[in-house]
Amino acid sequence: MSDATINTQTAQTAQAGEAQFGDYFALLKPRVMTLVVFTAAVGLLAAPVAVHPFLAFVSILFIAVGGGASGALNMWYDADIDAVMKRTARRPIPSGRVTGDEALAIGIALSGFSVIMLGLAANWLAAGLLAFTIFFYVVIYTMWLKRWTPQNIVIGGAAGAFPPMIGWAVATGGISIESVLMFTLTFLWTPPHFWALALFMRGDYDNAGVPMLTVTHGRRSTRNHILVYTVLLAIFALATAFTQVGGPIYLAAAVILNVLFVKGAIQIWRRDEAASEADNFAVEKKFFKLSLMYLFLHFGAILAEAALAPFGLGGWG
């Protein structure tokens, strides 16, 4: 790289505003990271094997860094899509504060770093699962499925579902039915969550040319899909109550949340576009907000069961 190139790049970034530390941090998608941290921590704490608190802390940190690295690689690859979507146009790359090359370098470096450090802090199964999660999110979802099939959200959702399984593997060194059920909970939750978003943010996905279900199969079909996936999700969410990570607290929370969620999905299914436009997609927006609480409270209930277990209160005794 010549001095002239460096000077040109410096001039360009200076024009867009010098990238600050926060811009590089934003590449790691901190909001997604909070979900990763929370679900991974629940997976780790709900496991029947105690982990040294410091190693538990650093393991969660490296899982978060791995998740963030895949976010940076996603932003590098999807910069063209992000630039035309209102929701993402202010991200560091489309706004010009960070270059694509910088995001690529940060993403690759942090991916390798987080996997190796997790292997050293915990075990190599957990590290392998983290490496697979990064590969799945970046290559399978971002590079392949997202621009190719309307089922992008369904299969891509697996990437976001791995953290509790990794947390469980950190503690136990293995995979079990409980960790698979925690994976399934997030995996089946992702499609209704994003399709509800796609229903009321419709212009964005149309403009970007991303084959969302709303664009390829129409909005009626999307409403049907939301209902089917919500019912499937409710079955798995309730089944989790009767495993080692479940218990009466989880069951009570799951019954209430799933009744509300299925009710919301039925309301979305019964509506047509005219009704939705009349109240500015109020039901769809409410369902989307509920979906955020839904996942948080399910994992919160699993955490409560684990926290109360030492006092003889958690689980089925």
């Binding site: 600050q20 530390f21 410091f54 650093v58 940190l61 450090m117």
Partner: protein, 53 residues
Amino acid sequence: MSFREPHELHKRRWGRNIGLAVVLIGLIGIVFGMTVVKVTRGDYEPPRAEATN
């Protein structure tokens, strides 16, 4: 003794440099902490020879 006026680039990148310093110091702390935990709980001790008659 006189100090030179900080270069404009250094002023602009002050926050970025401090952030990186904090990250690197944190990393040192993490590696040190991991080493202390693993060594004190005996992860790196050689396996004991089985007692034989």
